[in-house]
Amino acid sequence: MADSTEVPIRESETPTISITVDFYGGLDTLFGKGQHKLAIPAADKSGSPSTIGFLVTHLCETKMNDPRTDLFVLDGHIRPGILVLINEADWELEGEEAYEIQSGDNVVFVSTLHGG
């Protein structure tokens, strides 16, 4: 999944990291279908390396094309019932929100909340 292409540099000179993000289980209706190739800031506003927690907020602010943010985030955290996989591994094995995102990472969000 590692992306060898040049990491685009924004006007602000903020370094970015390239990752891929997928949405399943109904979340694709909030973010759009297919795999999303993203260049996200390498660090948050305070200068700390970008984490999954940061990514979640970033996605809400920049990628969500639906006003119902509470279907994705509750009280600032991923809504319970949504699974997060980092490079196919359950994020619980990777430190959850505190996981520091690496270039080339694949992050998958799957909602379990829809009918079966």
């Binding site: 619980e92 829809h114 009918g115 079966g116």
Partner: protein, 403 residues
């Protein structure tokens, strides 16, 4: 963080952390253990007999897709000798079932199972779109839920199949247990924990082989096996998504993942305390002697899937009770009125059953004597089942609509 290794094979990279015991597993060991546990549920509850024709209630959603995939695998691996078919219900909601039926059709090809589709129009003479045209969008989930509860059974009966399996999972059962606990309905609670509904004497028996499977693991199983499934909300119940009981379950799981199976087991234990009711238990395999029997009416129901379950229907009912009381009351009055306008036959009983449709008054914890609906023959604790009661109201309104 160094990648953790699988607790079973000690070589694969751990990708899954099991909610029920925190075991870390690699992909293939997880898939194996998931299948083994469903096999264990099936054998310890003696769900099937060799040569049995079994219909899988298929909505195209994750649960029924995983159920079909696992049953096909286990049927071949362990020689169950089952004749498996997919049974889909078409509620007649334009644009809603169309896409999910496409998914079911793909599954039918992939799993090499015949697909049978039965419509609400065939079963009831009404599509959901026509129901909505008649009664409006408010309260139509009641109709959809009541109709769906019987649809799989009626469809199976129509096709001469006597056993329907559905994709109800541990989260669904835990949700139903909580809902009935909150309603103080121990009788229904005890029945909702049963793995089997109806028995060999009933026309159609229902069972839930995924009863002990976590929804999380079902979704992970589908993901890692790359199974294709369909997810959407019922277009007539967008609010059903945020249901309080479901949200509560998911929040509990976040704090203590074993909570879901603990609630299921508590439900089973409470069921044993209810006079005349028995629940299955495989949690620890204490009793495997008798096949538990329960009434079919009490499955979680509502919109969102043709399984007769969803994360919305029961929740919607709950929400209705907790925060939309006025609306629920309006609905009850509507239905009651429709019934009374009809021939005044069995007035009191029908009022009772109509009131029940509105979302549930607490019932005394006594064993209900299960009879049959005098009109359709479906198992019912009332003389006229909920579906027939609703249909009577609808049919009475039909002429006005068509003029």
């Amino acid at each position: 963080m160094a990648p953790a290794l699988c607790a079973i094979c000690k070589t694969g990279r751990a990708l899954i952390k099991r909610p029920k015991n925190h075991t870390k597993l690699c992909k293939s060991c997880f898939i194996n253990i998931f299948e083994d546990e469903v096999h264990h549920t099936i054998t310890s509850s003696q769900l099937f007999y060799p040569g049995e024709k079994v219909a899988i209630g298929a909505s195209g959603g994750k649960d029924s897709t995983v159920l079909a995939s696992v049953l096909k695998t286990l049927n071949e691996r362990h020689g169950y000798g089952l004749e498996l078919v997919l049974l889909s219900i078409d509620e007649g909601i334009k644009g809603y079932r169309d896409d999910s039926l496409e998914t079911v059709k793909k599954n039918a090809v992939e799993y090499d199972m015949p697909l049978l589709v039965v419509g609400y129009d065939e079963l009831y003479g009404w599509t959901m779109d026509q129901v909505v045209e008649t009664i409006g969008k408010k309260g139509n989930c009641t109709y959809c839920g009541v109709f769906r509860r019987q649809a799989l059974d009626r469809g199976a009966k129509m096709l001469g199949i006597r056993h329907v399996v559905t994709g109800h999972n541990a989260d669904d059962v835990a949700e139903t247990v909580l809902m009935n606990l909150l309603r103080g309905d121990l009788s229904r609670l005890s029945r909702s924990t049963s793995i089997v509904t109806g028995d060999n004497k009933s026309e159609v028996k229902r069972s839930k082989p995924l009863k002990y499977s976590y929804e999380k693991e079902i979704v992970l199983y589908a993901h890692h096996k790359k199974l294709e499934y369909f997810s959407t909300e019922c277009i007539y119940s967008p609010e059903a998504f945020r249901g309080s009981a479901r949200t509560l379950i998911k929040q509990l799981e976040r704090v203590r993942p074993s909570a879901i199976l603990d609630i299921v087991r508590s439900g089973e234990d409470m069921a044993r305390l209810v006079p005349g009711e028995s629940a299955s238990s495989c949690g620890g395999c204490k009793s495997k002697t008798e096949t538990p029997v329960a009434a079919p009416e009490d499955d979680a129901g509502g919109c969102g899937s043709s399984n007769g379950r969803n994360p919305g229907g029961e929740m919607a009912a709950m929400d209705k009770q907790l925060r939309e009381n006025e609306e629920a009351e309006g609905l009850e009055v509507d239905i009651t009125k429709l019934v009374l306008e009809s021939k005044n036959r069995q007035k009191e009983k029908q009022r009772d059953s109509a009131t029940k449709n509105g979302g549930g008054n607490p019932k005394p914890t006594t064993r209900q004597v299960l009879g049959k609906c005098q009109r359709c023959g479906y198992m019912s604790s009332q003389d006229t089942c909920q579906a027939c009661t609703l249909l009577e109201g609808l049919n009475k309104n039909r002429p006005q609509i068509q003029i």
